[in-house]
Amino acid sequence: MNTELIGVIVTFLLTVLLAYPLAKYIAKVFAGERTFTDFMNPMERFIYRISGIDSKKGMNWKEFLTAMLMINMLWLFYAFFLLLNQASLPLNPDGNPNMAPDLSFNTAISFLVNCNLQHYSGEIGLTYFTQLFVITFLQFVSAATGIAAAVALFNGLKHKTTENLGNFWDIFTKSITRILLPVSIVIAVILAFNGSPASYDGKDSIVTLQGDTVAVSRGPAAGMIAIKHLGTNGGGWFGANSAHPLENPTYFTGMLELIAQMIIPIAMLFALGFYIRRKKFAYMIFAVMTIGMLFLIVPTINWEMHGNPEIAKMGIMQATGAMEGKEVRFGPAISGYWSIVTTIISTGSVNSMHDSSMPLSGMMQMLGMLINAFYGGCGVGILNYYIYIIIAVFIGGLMVGRTPEFMGHKVEAREVKIAALVTLLSAFLIKGGTALAAYYFVQHGNADWAVKPSAWLNNPGNHGFSEMFYEFTSSNANNGSGFEGLGDNNIFWNVTTGFVLLLGRFLPIIGPVAIAGLLAKKKYIPESSGTLKVDSATFGILTFAIIIIITALSYFPPLVLGPIAEYLGM
């Protein structure tokens, strides 16, 4: 068998294999059981003491969300302020300028919400100070926010009746000290030994073998590249993200970065099973998600390995596949795999340029983000899937004619309304945003912005439409990848996607945590023969069907206008 395909399969198997022990560890950490990292205890107690935090005190869902939103709001102002003033701050060896207000607004939000949509290029858009104090910092804390929200859900499911979803400060801090930081250190060191830069030196200048003078951007990137993947953040140190030879130097680092970005989403799923002592439930979700992922990945790899039919018409064989926007050291197979992994789990880092993917591969990438729950982002993937579960429970209940129940609690109008609103909100933000962009492109092509609407699109026709649709899809899913040909650094895109990012992050966290809190408060009803078995294959298939139906109903029209029309026109 072809070595490129073996590389893909082994990367996935290794991810699952490593996620399993990590999941046991995560479950123990949050259950307060003994682990080998308990030597961190004194340090955590020290952090709590100087921060004035009582880490033992339980929180109900409103207190939990208030603490979470408060600290997130603080980070937003902090990041915005630093970006605006980065030129006058230290650690700016390349002399890069301040960020414009609209771009600072977009960038601060984008990293706060774990999206990492980038309307700038790292080489000239940021300084080492903001790379570390804004970008790297937010990559840690936004991932930990996601994990904390998921653990709140776990706590709601674990107990028969409770108001206590756990202490936000405690779960959040331990997500960093026990999981994100130690694992990031290991990954960053491996990256540094395989060629990623880690020193604070500025740009270098060299004369090449052929005699050209070239400047080479560098910087303390290895640590950021590690947490960028582990926290499913995805924002690149360099403009070309993980296609850049210093950000992802070898095939081995490519495998490492793929494992790093997928391991926590899968481990959180297994951890759910261990934590609430319903392993079968977790495995059922894992199976549904994996099947969903395969539906997206297998055809994508196939299309990318077969090359661009339009170039084949010119008489080129393309034995190495569709190479536009791809790197030789990775090749088309693992690039296709990466493009789906990064879109289903909301990382958004890329090792190839999605804008140059085959039309239907591009559609698969969009579907990954539109569904956003095949594994999904760090912590938040489970929350998104939980919304689908609530809807499936409701519809399942209607079909058998009983009051819907989930894990011993009645699911009533209020919970279903929240779940439905969260689902409908995505469709509204994505399609509304795309419609607005298309309106400006057509009607106000000459608007006096940094990039005129008529110059937004790097590609004509249906593919150009896809560029706009992809941008809002990625923003709403908090993914951060892009069809990067889009001229997005101007006030329209910076502001509109900024708001979509905020709503697309916090409502899908607030909704599920609120539902978990509301359900957990209710009286516990023991399971009977009439109870819907949520860990059965039947329920798994039902949930899968619900996901497909909601996605198809919501997004079929724009997908037809974009990638499908482009494909049919080939």
């Binding site: 840690f140 080129i316 190495t320 569709a322 990775f330």
Partner: protein
């Protein structure tokens, strides 16, 4: 009440985490990386005591006497990496690919068109791709042999020597680093 319960803990916890994540963590990695090849500054390649490039970063080779590197959307500007972001059906883009094919055939008249490897007529993701597939190097051998007056067989074996096998012999594609290949080419004879 809200100040004491939420705001001050947020402020103080944030300050502590800035020290951990933005100061201590990158300093630790930078310190450990001093032991890595290149000392964490990026590994460079020297010829006759002079730095001619970074081992991992591709550079522009357009001279007929060298193995060409891939087309680049940013002309191998290592301070501004990017891909072309051209869509697969964009007519302007397809014309550009056709031009690259024609140019390649002018410089390599003996090559059969369908044998031109895709990476030689398409731009990479980073614009800094350091590699070619082994076929991408071998397809240029006739041209270089004629200009440098070196035996073709010798050049083919040079490409074979410089070919890096898949990771652990099992995972991913084979490739040739163009800079290293051209340095070795200059040192032939």
């Amino acid at each position: 009440m809200i100040m004491k319960k939420y705001v001050w803990p947020s402020v103080k916890l944030t300050l502590v985490l800035i020290v951990i994540c933005s100061v201590l963590y990158p300093l630790l990695i930078a310190a450990v990386a001093k032991l890595a090849p290149g000392g964490g500054k990026g590994e460079t390649v020297m010829v006759n005591g002079k730095v001619v490039g970074y081992a991992k970063i591709g550079q522009k080779f357009t001279d007929d006497k060298y193995f060409w590197s891939r087309p680049s959307a940013v002309d191998y500007n290592a301070a501004g990496s990017a891909g072309s972001n051209k869509g697969p059906t964009n007519p302007d883009y397809l014309k550009q690919v056709q031009d690259r094919i024609d140019t390649f055939l002018v410089h390599n008249p003996t090559v059969n068109k369908e044998k031109i490897p895709a990476e030689l007529v398409t731009a990479s993701g980073s614009g800094l791709d350091p590699d070619l597939s082994p076929a991408g190097a071998k397809v240029q051998v006739k041209r270089i042999a004629a200009i440098r007056k070196i035996d073709e067989a010798k050049l083919i074996s040079l490409v074979d020597q410089q070919t890096e096998k898949p990771f652990l012999g099992m995972f991913g594609p084979s490739k040739v680093n163009v800079l290293k290949l051209n340095i070795a080419l200059d040192q032939l004879k």
